[in-house]
Symmetry: C2
DNA sequence: CAGTTACGCTACGACTCGTATCGAAATCCG
DNA sequence: CGGATTTCGATACGAGTCGTAGCGTAACTG
């Protein structure tokens, strides 16, 4: 979102919410067609039917714009209760994989992560608007599994948080790596094998 | 490497190998200072003491150049025998993490992966010159563990290959995600926790 | 109404891109 | 040695993008 909080009603002409939506939509479309490196802000502006100046008034640059344009896609993820820990993991893996199949998502996500390695504020923006919000899925899945008796209750809340972070990195990292680096499909068969590995480990089974 | 195979000794002045080395070194240095998006080929050329024309004669563009500049870094990875499967995994995780701590490695790797989502030849170049070469670590670790009796011998070679790919995606993906997305350190404590999860699974322990 | 802010539009200098051209340097072959 | 061949450094070029500035108009507040 643009930086200004809309909670302070100030004088003057308000910013057009429709322009915001059109710009973010145009950004996603341009990402699909052009990819990251060839995406220009001038092109986005003309696609959105908006002056280039308007774009620069609201976003500092390409990075910030793309983060906002893609962040909303990740809010679609859900974790319906499928009755078992394994089924829940498979479900979220397949959902995440479907999201990463969308060209605008995979292109934008990797590009902004790459830029964030040299840009601390950008990394923080990514963390708060994308990554941190999805850890809810891990927490929800674990609490369900504990309620079913599939996982033990953890006493130390700090240790529990570290474990949740670990699992999040393993699940998200594996799916991203499989999709973008290995460039192999995350289908049901892979999800099943991954889930079995995650639950039972190398030694298990 | 530049596309021409040096095995065909042809007439004329040969390409300077020193220029190659200087360009790749300059590329890594520029990546550290400028990051991906602000890296320009003209800047690389002047750092390397080389004409911009020379650069374009050998590489098609920024993507290909950066892949070559970074690929060599990944060949440093080794897998010394630490006596147990768990110790071997911890060792390779920490080595990979140390590699990703180098700014030129993390910046370049993510950037070229992002570009490769819209560029099939580039993805293939990444696969052959970086990814596929490192799967040797997984294969070696598994064969050692099997020799120690820590892992069962697999009969079906196709299934064994799929398992190796899965483990590779899980290990590499988790380390990359932890380092670049979560932006948390991969230290010994995390490596230990990850290894225990990988071997024993969620249910284990 | 006056005051304030966002808007579309145009224009600008600075920079980068990738290519073309040129004469000089380095190597192979006869 | 001398001619052919290829790369080299240097320079210049049109095209495209960047981010900003200026201007008159539109929308909203009090």
């Amino acid at each position: 979102m643009p930086s200004r909080t809309p909670s302070a009603p100030r004088a003057g002409r308000p910013r057009s919410a429709a322009a915001d939506a059109a710009i973010l939509e145009a950004t996603r479309a341009a990402l699909v067609e052009l990819g990251w490196s060839k995406l220009t802000l001038g092109d986005v502006a003309s696609r959105a039917g908006v002056a280039k100046t308007t774009l620069y008034r609201r976003w500092a640059g390409k990075n910030e714009l793309v983060v906002d344009a893609v962040a909303v896609l990740f809010d679609e993820l859900e974790l319906p209760d499928r009755g078992s820990l394994a089924a829940d993991i498979e479900g979220v893996v397949l959902q995440f994989a479907a999201l990463l199949d969308r060209p605008e998502a995979k292109t934008a996500l990797m590009a902004v992560v790459a830029e964030s390695t040299r840009d601390e504020p950008l990394r923080e923006r990514i963390r708060t608007s994308i990554v941190e919000r999805q850890k809810r899925l891990v927490l929800e899945g674990r609490s369900r599994a504990q309620a079913r008796g599939e996982l033990p209750l953890e006493q130390d809340p700090a240790a529990a948080a570290r474990t949740a972070d670990l699992i999040f990195d393993v699940v998200a990292g594996a799916v991203v790596h499989r999709t973008l680096v290995s460039a192999e499909p995350v289908d049901e068969e892979w999800a099943t094998r991954f889930t079995r590995l995650l639950i039972g480990g190398l030694a298990g089974d």
